[in-house]
Symmetry: C2
Subunit: 477 residues, 2 copies
């Protein structure tokens, strides 16, 4: 645990009993209830990790329990990884390594071995724990100067804009900081761009089929007419259909996910990228390219395609899938002129993340374990670890599916498998049956522009632990 976070003494310790709340009313043996109460108080943040526990004797007295009950409760916590005892210096609560050293959000398996509800509708990860805590500490150290200023929305913290521009430039897409607008996520970026560019609400918008439900929901809320273009992991983008749609229907806007497409995992080849960019230029079509999944390349080593770019292409990105959804930092990369226009949009201030979160993002991007400023940044190091974990989980999930009739193309990246269940199985029915048994999954129609097709598909994220994936597949079969 790094300096600055421990709380060996202080109010947390004095209020230990208070932090536990009304745990006695729970059923079962007292020792088990007490250990559960400690775990819950930590998860709720009432009891900070690093809090030193009072002595066994004090605990027994304060909580009005026998010493034996206290010893049993502490043993349960210690065995489970929630308590660390250093000889001679007492016991300190902490989060178990199995929660902090992984990419799976704890709420996905907080039931442990019990038959708790499993939610596999979200393809999201927990934060990279140690790196995030360290970045948080550094951001807090540097926050004093922010607090004496107004805190009003800006196009982004200068350092963060520089770091993001540098990442694009390193990846071969020359970018100046003035071309970056920091937003509170990729969906916020899309909302702002639509408000600015999609001013005639009857104008149609090209989307992929399937596509990301969050983006479809934003577009539907605007009552935009959606023009779907098929994409599959096996055959990629139907560029002929795209070209026909653009020529025939004259859309001015398209929303595409060329990198580890959500949900199929399809990855657009460099020639197709060039074709799309040329088509956009020829037909004055503005293409919003969602790069949220771009860094989740699970190949060893990663082999990124060039960015889909061009005069009519706007990139949007987010730290939500790569780092953590709770950071709420995303961005738009566009021409500096458009960025200046977007800053004047009344929605921009509301979709601008808090300065502190931008500082945390900058610290996560900046920090390099090596000395000096070489190639790459802190994000590259975090990604190496996360890719390894996700690859293991992807392969575990694939292994579980080998003797089913369900088919899929193993994706080179992203966070989920896109299953074809076969013509006899309807995904919404399967999802409904699974829900009855406590498992929530996302059926194909959720990803369809028309909400009805893709009836035989199911998305299964591999962001869960192998244990949870095993139970989920057992339930589904």
């Amino acid at each position: 645990m790094q300096r600055g976070f421990s709380s060996d003494t202080g109010p947390a310790q004095r209020g230990f009993a208070a932090a536990l709340g009304t745990w006695r009313t729970k059923e079962g043996p007292l020792a088990r209830s007490l250990s559960a109460a400690v775990r819950e108080a930590m998860i709720d943040g009432r009891l900070p990790a690093g809090t030193r526990l009072p002595s066994e004797r004090e605990l027994a007295r304060t909580l009005d329990l026998s010493r034996g009950t206290v010893v049993t409760a502490l043993t349960l916590l210690r065995d489970d990884g929630w308590l660390h005892t250093r000889h001679g210096s007492g016991s300190v609560v902490r989060l178990p390594a199995r929660l902090t050293e992984r990419t799976t959000p704890w709420s996905l398996d907080r039931g442990g071995a019990r038959d708790a509800d499993l939610d596999l509708t979200l393809a999201v990860t927990a934060a990279p724990h140690e790196a995030y805590r360290a970045a948080l500490g550094r951001a807090v150290e540097r926050s004093a100067a922010l607090l004496v200023d107004s805190g009003v929305a800006t196009p982004g913290l200068p350092r963060l804009r520089e770091l993001l521009a540098a990442r694009y430039t390193r990846a071969g897409l020359a970018t100046r900081p003035e071309q970056i607008l920091v937003t509170s996520g990729a969906q916020a970026a899309l909302t702002l761009l639509l408000d600015q560019l999609h001013t005639d609400r009857r104008a149609p918008v090209v989307v992929e089929s399937p596509s990301y439900p969050g983006a479809l929901a934003i577009l539907r809320r605007r009552r935009a007419r959606l023009l779907p273009v098929p994409v599959t992991a096996a055959y990629g983008w139907d560029t002929e259909c795209l070209a026909e749609t653009v020529r025939g229907k004259g859309p001015q806007l398209a929303y595409l996910i060329p990198d580890f497409h959500n949900p199929t995992g399809a990855h657009m080849t460099a020639p197709v990228r060039a074709e799309v960019a040329a088509l956009a230029e020829r037909h004055s079509l503005t293409v919003v390219v969602d790069e949220t999944m771009r860094e989740l390349d699970l190949r060893t080593p990663p082999r990124p395609e060039p960015h889909l770019s061009g005069a009519r292409v706007i990139q949007i990105g987010s730290a939500s899938k790569v780092l953590w959804s709770g950071l709420r930092v995303g961005w738009i990369r566009a021409g500096a002129d458009l960025v200046r226009e977007l800053v004047r949009n009344p929605l921009q201030a509301q979709l601008s993340p808090p300065p502190l979160e931008q500082l945390i993002a900058a610290e996560l991007l900046r920090e390099s374990r090596g000395e000096g400023d070489g190639e790459g940044d802190g994000l590259d190091e975090i990604l190496t670890d996360r890719r390894t974990r996700l690859r293991t989980q992807r392969d575990h999930l694939a292994g579980l599916l080998t003797d089913t009739a369900w088919t899929y193309t193993l994706p080179d990246g992203g966070l989920s498998l896109w299953l074809h269940l076969g013509e006899d199985t309807t995904a919404t029915e399967l999802a409904a049956r699974a829900a009855e048994r406590g498992l929530a999954v996302s059926p194909g129609p959720l990803f369809a522009a028309d909400r009805t097709t893709l009836a035989h598909h199911l998305r299964l994220p591999f962001t869960a632990t192998p244990d949870v994936l095993t139970r989920a597949v057992e339930l589904l079969r």
Copy 2:
């Protein structure tokens, strides 16, 4: 300085020279340039407050300067409050008390005595420094458990919803946590409510004249037809006009600021509140009440009116004016059913603040200097201090205006004076002349629903320091 923020050793010290950047290229004496570079590095966050400086000898060697130059630079910093030297334990950089112990954002007067540009268009404050830093520290201590979860948007952190509900209940408006939806600010709250409730974009919306330009911009962006109802600090709301408008034009939505109305400072009396609520109920008019300024009551002691409430009234609030804009935490108080509907709106996730910022808000609301949970919360203590400072600044600004022809009603609360310049002076012309001399102010038409009336009014926020206010009024005259 509280535990957890000092950085007596570590990379910050080792990289001291690096943190300063390329300061030598600046004009003027070296010692002055060096001291300016240290100040700028702190303001930029490159040099965290609390960093221990290397010894004078080391500094001279590392920076390749004479010892005399270093001594002079450090003396300048010390005299200006940027350096604190403890006998025998070296020197530590810090933010001067004149920046941390006030409500004015530093960017408003970073030019110090120089003729820098003055921006009086924003009525915003700096964070309550010590209380905010302490809350930040506690939030970080409690953040470990958040980081192991998904971080996706929720209706709000349970503890924050409880604290906000408790504040309403204490103020006489019984509220359950399920009635609170946490948003990234009051404007975010308004945007979400409009998207949900103002679905027929041609439907007219009642606003005050003048009104808050941020809200007007959001409404205009939707191309909503605005129905202005006059309000003045001296006579309050024109309820007759309001009733006629509601009866005659049949609007379904109104946006009002009954508490220390922005910009006039008008405060709606209890009988008028009841009248508005009754009118809303009678005519199925949903009233969105913006309570952003409510806590900025500058009377001693504060005498809050009852919340404007009723079956058709939705309250929105924000920490931006009371605590800090950079926190980006606001909320909606509505029926639990509407809150549930809003959570399903695709915009909600984008307008939900990061979990860490919600944790900071909860810590700011929670902490009470006294032991135990009595009446009131941490916010009440912060407010007492901020009200005192703002009152002094308001009275200073009022004093500066005594021998001008400009008139105003001294507001009981809020952050600005609403001046009437007289029929011979046009505010936009005055603002243009002021801009030429480096002072930015907001002329009346900015606050008008039709963007043209209120031509003889000017808003002057008293969020600046007395020095800056004095210079601003001198420039304006």
